[in-house]
């Protein structure tokens, strides 16, 4: 059964500053969903509300009908995994140990044979088996990102949330990661939510696109519906044109001159 995540009249304010309000979103179909929008529009904040890292000031989020505030962190961790944008390790463990940490909600103190198997599979999916015994902090930013995605997959969630999972990756790895996420979502029947700044990568691999702008959900639909020249220009303030690559919209950006950046 696919997990159902529902945000109702959700609003977050930091003191006087209102991030957004009146957000109503529902995710209940397996697939890769990309959240787009300019910097500081509250995309990460929205993710934090789903797994209770942040308590919203208005409205609520439910997972399979239960308000997240009534769930413990542990209950949420069994259903929702989160992959942060940047690694934040002080004392590094090996890559394998780092990925095995994703098994924490499922296993107790000891690592079972099943945990090892799952972690090894996730390394293979991310094409980083050869890094398994390396120390996490000896790796590059892109490799960190792949390890963290593997760790998120190892948690075997119903909802996998990734905050800019491809921000440090080269073009091959960007496409590999997004393609793999899209495939995993369908194979496992899970919802995968990514925050993305590369409109073309999002367009190519997402099943659904949600665009945040100016304190609200500006647009929610298929890539064809959401990624249009008009929307991009309105939301990002950049002159854009659309062509088609692989049957998906492909955005071309034009320099709008000095007045665009006033």
């Amino acid at each position: 059964m696919v997990v159902e995540i529902k945000a109702t009249d959700l609003g977050v304010s930091y003191g006087e500053f209102r991030v957004w309000q009146g957000i109503n979103l529902k995710f209940d179909e397996p697939g890769l969903i990309s959240i787009l929008g300019p910097n500081g529009v509250g995309k990460s904040t929205f993710m934090y509300c789903i797994n209770k890292i942040l308590i919203p000031t208005e409205g609520n989020v439910t997972i399979d009908g239960t308000d997240v505030n009534d769930l413990s962190f542990k209950d949420i961790a069994l259903k929702v995994a989160y992959v942060p944008q940047a690694s934040n390790e002080t004392f590094a463990m090996t890559v394998m140990d780092t990925v095995l940490m994703g098994r924490y909600p499922h296993s107790g103190f000891n690592t079972s044979a099943e945990d090892l198997q799952i972690a090894a599979e996730c390394l293979k999916i991310m094409k980083i088996s050869h890094l398994a015994m390396r120390n996490f902090n000896e790796l590059s930013a892109g490799q960190h990102q792949k390890v963290m995605i593997a760790r998120g997959l190892a948690q075997q969630p119903d909802l996998l949330m990734l905050d800019e999972p491809t921000s440090n990756l080269d073009v091959y790895n960007q496409m590999h990661v997004m393609r793999m996420l899209s495939k995993v979502a369908k194979e496992r029947g899970i919802v995968i939510l990514t925050i993305c700044h590369d409109l073309n990568v999002a367009s190519k691999y997402s099943d659904r696109v949600v665009i945040f702008s100016k304190g609200e959900v500006y647009c929610d639909g298929t890539p064809q519906e959401a990624i249009t020249a008009e929307n991009i220009t309105k939301v990002y303030g950049v002159k854009a044109g659309i062509t088609e690559v692989d049957g998906r919209p492909y955005v071309l950006f034009y320099d709008g001159g000095d007045e665009q950046f006033q």
Partner: protein, 384 residues
Amino acid sequence: MKKLHTSGIRRSLEQTNIRLHDMRHHAREKNYEGMTEEEVTIAQYKAHRWSKLIFVFILLAVFIILAGAELAVGDYDIDLWSVYSILIDHIFLGKPIETLEQTVVWEFRTPRVLTAIAVGIGLAMAGAGMQSMMKNPLADPYTTGISSGAALGATLAMTLGFTLISGTYGTIINAFVFALIPSLFIIALSKYRKPSPAMIILSGIALMYVFNAAQSYLMLVADPNATSAVYAWTVGSIDGTDWGDMPFMWAVVILGAIIMMYLSRILNAMNSGDSYAKSLGINTDRTRVIILLSVSILAAGIVSFTGIIGFVGLVAPHIARILIGADNRILIPLSALVGACLMMVADLFIQAVLSFSMPVGLITSLIGGPIFMIMIIRQKNEVW
């Protein structure tokens, strides 16, 4: 047995280290023919885990040798093998303590060695826990102001005669209770503000200044003898303990060890940052308070008996981390062993090399500092 062949021990340790490195390298390069990619990963990981356990066994052997040497060396030298047979005879076979040799080992020296071990284990585990919880390599068991709290408690007893309970344990109980004030203060504050590492460190420093000021005042107005006693206390020594002190001190250490081991996997997750740890199902704010309290009780339980022994709690976890990496599940027990060994080496240095008595707290810093410096320069795995 006046002179110990430490250079020999060091050389064999180094050789074992090189051999281990070869073994690990070999394991990595081994031909995993006919195995799937996942099987190779798992096989490598298991080999890696075993190679870490070998360090534990090596240190365990070093630990036993050092403990024996500690019991053997002193004004009345005893053969190393006699020491072990006396211990085995008395502990496991229940033979009574009768001869002079047996009395020296069991009545005079064992409490001292047990204290050194308890100090090493307790402070090292507390340090490892504090460093991982705060995500800060500079953290040690005293970071929250435990040491200055304990010092003020002891100073009150020694200069004014103010003790929370009367009797021989007055100073110890004073030090213990005052050492816990900083963490209780942070717990009270955590109702109003998130107990972040920065908040914990800053409120620890704030309290430290207050405690130090109060202590300095008390020492200024006290008579010189009391001031001197306070000063000796703050340096940290294991000379003053006897069998009567062991039950409480070891109860604290064993309880602390159980809690720290139970928390080790949570500490691993907290090392990746609060928001990730929360997404793994860990209530980070509550857990941080629990870890803080456990570490404080552990450190306070030791400091109150021995005074402030520095450095072990900071350095032992780092040495362990250089040897086996940052996985707290194995780091915490290995830190404990390293800490115990460091304490015994420092005490052996006093007993065997120096001809005069010196507080062990001075030696841990004096020898530990340079050793640590060398290890930082020579370490190959960047673990922090």
